[in-house]
């Protein structure tokens, strides 16, 4: 998208804790997509978590501290982009944490205006349609709640996935119903969470898809964990892995190499 005349768009990558720890490929795929779309990507190393665990536990003091830290970390970037509707959704909550007379309020609003989930950034903000990827198979898409309802992410990932050679979309029933992850919910209310994720894996299996795709690692780890436990042969992948043509590695919860040695 960029050429010698247009300077690259400066993007700060919001890595997200789960991508950082559980699936670095997701962050690398995000970087690759951003670069394909003409952005130059930095990873500010003063970022940590978006603060959602504190926010959703009612600990506003900690949420505020983390919000300030994140705002500072991403000062000076035209955009802040991350591979999660849930974490970016949290960045959008920051203004609620500050009172009108607090100078941090305006800074939080400013961050909110610059913060995007990756698929919505590519489609809504850049109008990008240069996906270069091949993926043979039937896929189904789970709409993660925060992305869907807080950020309006629904057709963006589907539009981008449709550009991939070989992909066949099989929508599942209740694609918009929560998978039961809910951050700490899944450990605080394990039985209810289990019922919700079981409904989900059943719908995913009924769709006839070979790969379940989504935009939030929390939900994906939850659904992959359940599918593995149930012994169902459905792969689970983050949408950016397909979009960036990075599907050679094992799917979530699978391993094709000795992880113990990959240390």
């Amino acid at each position: 998208m960029s050429d010698a005349h247009t300077p690259p768009i400066k993007v700060g990558l919001f890595v997200t804790c789960l991508a950082d720890m559980f699936r670095p490929e997701v962050a690398f795929a995000t970087v690759k997509l951003l670069e394909q779309a003409g952005c130059s990507v930095d990873v500010p190393d003063t970022q940590t978590c978006c603060g959602q665990p504190a926010f959703n536990s009612g600990d506003n003091q900690t949420s505020r501290d983390i919000a300030r830290q994140t705002i500072k970390a991403f000062d000076g970037y035209r955009y802040v982009v991350g591979p999660s509707g849930s974490c970016i959704g949290m960045l959008h909550h920051y203004p609620e944490l500050f009172t009108e007379d607090d100078p941090w309020k305006a800074r939080a609003e400013d961050l909110k205006a610059r913060a995007f989930e990756i698929t919505s950034f590519l489609v809504d903000e850049l109008g990008f349609s240069g996906i270069q990827s091949r993926f043979n198979g039937r896929i189904t898409y789970h709409d993660s709640c925060s992305g869907l309802r807080e950020l309006g992410i629904k057709q963006q990932p589907r539009q981008l996935l449709a550009e991939i050679d070989g992909v066949e979309m099989h929508e599942m029933q209740e694609a918009e119903t929560c998978c039961g992850f809910g951050g700490t919910f899944c450990v605080k209310y394990p039985d209810i969470s289990n019922r919700m994720v079981s409904n989900k894996t059943e719908f995913a299996a009924d769709s006839g898809a070979e790969t379940l795709v989504g935009g939030d690692l929390g939900c994906l780890l939850n659904m992959a964990g359940k599918l593995k436990r149930e012994g169902r042969e459905i792969d689970v992948r983050h949408v950016v892995e397909l979009l960036a043509d990075m599907t050679d590695n094992a799917a979530i919860g699978e391993a094709d190499y000795d992880l113990g040695k990959a240390i």
Binding site: M21, V187, A224
Partner: protein, 471 residues
Amino acid sequence: MQIKSPEFKQSARIALQDENLQKALGNLKAGFPGKRAAAVARMPEFEELRDQARDLKNHILEHLDLYLEEFEARVVENGGQVHWCRTSEDARKTILQICREQDAKTVTKGKSMVTEEINLNEYLEENGVRPVETDLGEYILQLRGDHPSHIIAPAIHLNLEDVSEAFHEHHKRPKSDDPAELMAEAREMLRKQFVAADVGITGANFLVAETGSTIIVTNEGNGDLTQTLPKTHIVVSSIEKVVPTLEDMSLFLRLLARSATGQEYSVYNTLSSGNRRPDDQDGPENFHVVLVDNGRSDMVGTQFQEMLRCIRCSACMNHCPVYGSVGGHSYGWVYPGPMGSVLTPQMIGIEKAGLLPNASTFCGKCEEVCPVRIPLPKLMRHWREKEFEKHLSPKAVRWGLGGWAFFAKRPGLYRLMSASASRFMRLLGGKKGKVSSLPMAAGWTDHRDMPVPTGKTFMQQWKARQKQESK
């Protein structure tokens, strides 16, 4: 009604294993949401009406006192009486007093959640007045000594067999499992009660300030018989149900039926405006309105005020995946589902109801369907704030959070922590890419495997890559 909200987790576990209940919840999920969606699709201006309804409710709540006083003045002009009750106890006593004045032995009752809230039935029985529920669902529950598990479909947790069993036992008739026959049987039993009743008690969906009218919305017509046959009609209503005009009421009616059952309108929309006038064909000689506050005026002006917009349509619970998994009784008090998780802590205290606003993934489906756009997840989160401020959250949670926060606020240490946690999990995972048992995350691994990290953290790998590139 006994408060069982502190046992939410145990009740939920039992509910999840109750096959009959799960079957019934399956019917609910297959019914209401689809019907609502179809009704909304038939009405292009639906979203706009939701905005109007939200704004109008906000306006009403700003002037609640004025509209309630206007309502009272009109009721009195129409020959009726209004009783202001601050607490449940005030309301119960007032209602009993009216029944005593009429020397009432039997009262018929239309469906009313507020009478559940104030525990009316038990109180009347203790005091020698026999309440008879006339809504079919409520009638079945009363026979079984049961309570509503849903605000508009009170017996949704029961299946046909349960009903058939209850009727056989109490009506002493041959057992039937034909819904039409059962309906006819209930009708026959209830007719006698309608005629015998000295007092009829109904709730109200709305109170209309400009005319002093109350309205009930039903699909069975039982409410009409409840309020027109006896000499005395008592309307029990919470204070936030007042609307300025009949025109305003019709805005809410259009949203209510569609959000609730997917109907354009409910079958019976019945207005009551005071005592029977000389040339009226029927109607009560005595018309009373009991206005129940019970903590609501304390919500005005607080971060929970928005909850008072609720028109009790039940859409939030019909669409809630948690309610759909555990049913209404698990919530352990009168109001279940997302609306209950906000209201119950207000009414019985966050100390007892703390598990309810926590039992949400914040998926946001409830807010998506609420006709008056109540931000239910945000309000549940406000209760979590109260809990946190009052140090009510479990110690393990507070300590875990505190420890995590310590690192999350120190990026360098956070890096080290994630790197070593990642390494530790990879060692556990070995060649498999997942672990099936992790004692510190048993809630997770009891039900599912835990995928393990696929390599060093992104931050480690990114740094290495940057170094490589700068060489």
